[in-house]
């Protein structure tokens, strides 16, 4: 009932505002002497109105907007305190744990949908000649698979697991800006809906990169797509800002920078990346939108513009974006490997240095996506060097992971298996990256299936495996229930084998002359594509096991202990699931989070005052 009110209210005001926006745009246009109706222009204004209406409708008005006009606001925490059961996940709620679950489940749904689109792509590519879908549908499916998976990779770990775990791991009771946190989540559903509607609005022609002039000339749903992605970028920036401030100011006493868990470090660096670079995508798409709806000439060579401007601005974001994707994967992998090897994390300081090094280098490597784009010759060398430099900090992550498992006591539960798979997969993705960083080899490999295989190895193999490591690792904490270990291991091996067969073989057609984003290819590539398609279907099927295990365990899994992994970090020192205020007593940090088996090591956390007989809800005070 509550949930229906929230969603219904949001949809109602959103739609009304959308139509209002259409009208306002038409009015303005006729006032200034244009035709009253221009689909892309009017719809853009309508989208902005609709977005604001939606946000106000789902609860931002009551808990936030009224304040701007000096009126009393509703208590934003009312929803977290009420006993609402599952309905609280469908409501405006400022509790970071609820927002984390909202993010996680939303993006798992998007992940499954985008995965289904990958199955369509592989079905089309099973055979060189036959058309399973038309070229138009193929391009739409391809573009949607790309952008939805990018969205998942950017937000599933950061928004989902990051929101859930980071405040818990640093001993905070919430994020620094809880209402802004809720805002960044509630910006996501309109984006998802707009993206999913794009096949009905004219399809997508440009892939997820949206290179002009094609994205300016195309008659497809490009403008809606731009607006949706700009909105998503806004959500990502606000989320990043929130994480940076949270980690800077909300740490518990004694939680020095040298004692932060690796996952928190990775989220901190990721948040900086999101805050610093996401604007690039937004600016690039704003330029495309202006070219489309206002007839401007940023990318029109005939009128003095330059199409390459887009690529520079776009990759200025989209290369750092791959670190937004991969660093949380590394963070989870190191976190899990640390706890499940039962020994201190090897070379902790070097691993932190690696994160910071990647943050520093990420802004100066973007043009390696443009080695064949006709950029001036003098740019090739510097970008080659900068790109290769990235492999040095990345090597330190491997040092830390391998050093930690060496001579450890590996407890091979599912999270650990996924974390080890991250290291395995990324080793392959990293080595194939060398070929793409060196300009001479990149000339041939650019825009082929070699690139496709490479980035699936890094992003799926690195981040998505990390995402699943995190999901299994924190599942007992989030749900208060234990997942089924046998099914989880089945999921792991099925996914691991399916993934590696699919994408390892995919390098081969790339080298043999198969380029990206095509629906048909020369006959000589048929065998390779058939194998890839078949194993891709196998990979796709593995997620059915996951869905079954996830849903079934959440509904009726056995109750989980507070600390089923015997881990030292803070989030395991409170109940599963944690109370609304996270910790009943304020935590004080005294030791390093990974000091397993170190003689005389202080415990990572103690609670003050000691946890006896204190009344529930006594989270206030202190500090």
């Amino acid at each position: 009932m509550y949930a229906a009110t929230t969603i219904g209210g949001g949809l109602g005001t959103g739609l009304l505002s959308f139509y209002l926006g259409l009208g306002v745009a038409a009015l303005l246009r006729s006032l200034f002497g244009f035709d009253a109706w221009d689909r892309d222009f009017n719809a853009s204004i309508g989208y902005i109105f609709g977005l604001i209406g939606w946000l106000m409708g789902v609860g931002m008005w009551g808990t936030w907007g009224r304040e701007w006009f000096g009126a009393k606001i509703k208590d934003p925490h009312a929803n977290s305190r009420k006993e609402l059961g599952w309905q609280r996940y469908f409501m405006f709620n400022v509790d970071h744990k609820v927002i984390g679950v909202q993010y996680l489940v939303t993006f798992l749904v998007v992940f499954i949908l985008a995965g289904a689109m990958a199955m369509v792509i592989r079905l089309e590519l099973m055979d060189s000649g036959r058309d399973f879908v038309s070229n138009k549908t193929y391009n739409t499916v391809l573009g949607m698979h790309g952008i939805m998976m990018v969205a998942v990779a950017v937000a599933a770990v950061v928004g989902g697991l990051g929101n859930y775990a980071v405040p818990l791991m640093i001993g905070a009771d919430d994020m620094a800006f809880p209402r802004m946190n809720a805002l960044s989540y509630w910006l996501v559903p309109p984006v998802a809906v707009t993206l999913l509607l794009s096949p009905f609005l004219g399809g997508l022609e440009t892939g997820w990169t949206a290179y002009p002039p094609l994205s300016v000339l195309t008659q497809s749903a490009q403008t809606f797509w731009n607006l949706a992605i700009i909105t998503f970028g806004l959500s990502s920036i606000l989320g990043g800002l929130n994480f940076v401030v949270t980690v800077m100011f909300m740490r518990a006493p004694g939680m020095t920078w040298g004692r932060l868990p690796m996952f928190v470090w990775s989220m901190f660096v990721t948040a900086w990346l999101a805050l610093l670079y996401t604007q690039g995508f937004a600016v690039a798409l704003i330029m495309v939108t202006l070219d489309r709806i206002a007839g401007m000439g940023f990318f029109d060579a005939a009128r003095g513009g330059d199409p390459l401007l887009y690529q520079h601005v776009f990759w200025f974001y989209s290369h750092p974006a791959v670190y937004i994707m991969i660093l949380p994967g590394f963070g989870i992998a190191l976190e899990v490997i640390g706890h499940f090897s039962r020994k201190p994390l090897f070379a902790y300081r070097y691993a932190v240095g690696a994160f910071l090094g990647i943050l520093g280098l990420s802004g100066v490597v973007w043009a390696h996506h443009m080695f064949t784009a006709g950029i001036p010759n003098y740019l090739h060398g510097p970008f080659l060097v900068a790109t290769e430099l990235i492999s040095i900090p990345t090597g330190l992550i491997f040092l830390s992971a391998l050093g930690t498992i060496w001579m450890g006591k590996l407890w091979l539960r599912t999270p650990m298996l996924f974390a080890l798979a991250v290291i395995f997969n990324f080793a392959c993705g990293g080595v194939t990256g060398i070929f793409l960083a060196d300009v001479p080899t990149d000339i041939h490999l650019q825009d082929t299936y070699f690139v496709v295989a490479h980035f699936h190895y890094t992003i799926v193999g690195g981040e998505i495996f990390g995402l699943f490591a995190g999901i299994y690792y924190w599942f007992p904490k989030i749900t208060g229930r234990m997942y089924n270990e046998k099914l989880a291991k089945l999921h792991f091996w099925w996914m691991f084998i399916g993934f590696n067969v699919t994408f390892f073989i995919m390098h081969w057609p790339g080298i043999e002359g198969m380029n990206r984003r095509i629906a048909d290819y020369p006959q000589s590539l048929e065998t390779a594509n058939l194998i890839v398609s078949l194993s891709a279907f196998m990979l796709g099927a593995s997620f059915l096991v996951f869905i079954y295990n996830f849903v079934n365990s959440w509904v009726r899994g056995p109750a989980a202990e507070a600390n089923p992994w015997g881990a030292r970090t803070l989030e395991w020192q409170t109940s599963s699931p944690p109370p609304v205020e996270n910790f009943l007593q304020p935590p004080v940090i005294a030791g390093h989070p990974y000091d397993y088996g170190v003689p005389g090591a202080a415990p990572h956390v103690t609670f003050y005052p000691p946890a006896v007989g204190s009344p529930a809800g006594g989270g206030g005070g202190g500090q």
Partner: protein, 210 residues
């Protein structure tokens, strides 16, 4: 946007944070937001030089100077408003906020006037002029347009702040709502500090160079 950062959070966590710390967190959050925005402005700024070098079409440089001075004057009144608030002088603060809003509106009108007399378009090159005409128009209108959008939103936020002040909100010790909108206003001024020379002065005395 500053409103969002401005009002920050009053959480159950507020119990864990002193008001001074809350203020510091809000302030750093707002600065990070400025940082993030300045990259949007910076990318457009860089695009202007990427596309045109230091080329510049004819613009009314004197008009540019006048609106720049107007914006600077509005910064002074904004500063007065915040300082008055810190000293607890609500009346002076209200009048200064009002003056700031007025000057902001004058600036926006100035930009609108500049647009209406511009000697370049975005659709097609003007007959007999440099072919850079269109892309210059593109760059000029999008840069000043983005900045003007921030000015207008700043005026709206200042208006809300003034309204709240008149209704008796804010005090000497608690006026983050006013401080944050005024910081946002100064930030808009900072952007103009770069945009004004890039659009009006780079090519010197109205000559066509580059």
């Amino acid at each position: 946007m500053a409103v969002i950062a401005a009002h920050g959070a009053q959480t159950h966590g507020a119990g864990h944070m002193s008001p001074a710390k809350r203020l510091q967190v809000n302030r750093v959050g707002l600065w990070l937001f400025f940082f993030s925005e300045s990259i949007i402005f910076g990318l457009l700024f860089t695009s202007r030089f990427f596309l045109l070098g230091t080329h510049q079409e004819h613009v009314d440089q004197f008009l540019g100077l006048v609106i720049t001075i107007v914006l600077l004057a509005s910064s002074v009144t904004a500063y007065t408003a915040e300082t008055a608030m810190e000293k607890g002088n609500r009346k002076l603060a209200a009048w200064s906020l009002f003056a700031t809003i007025l000057l902001g509106v004058v600036f926006a009108i100035g930009v609108g006037f500049e647009w209406s007399v511009a000697e370049f378009g975005i659709k097609t090159a003007v007959e007999g002029q440099d072919p850079h005409n269109v892309v210059w128009g593109t760059v000029f209108f999008s840069m000043t347009g983005l900045h003007a959008a921030h000015v207008v939103s700043g005026v709206l936020m200042l208006g809300l702040a003034l309204m709240m002040l008149l209704r008796g909100h804010f005090s000497k010790d608690s006026h983050w709502g006013i401080s944050s909108t005024i910081m946002y206003w100064h930030f808009v001024d900072v952007v103009w500090v770069f945009y004004y020379p890039a659009l009006y002065l780079v090519a010197g005395g109205g000559t066509h160079t580059g």
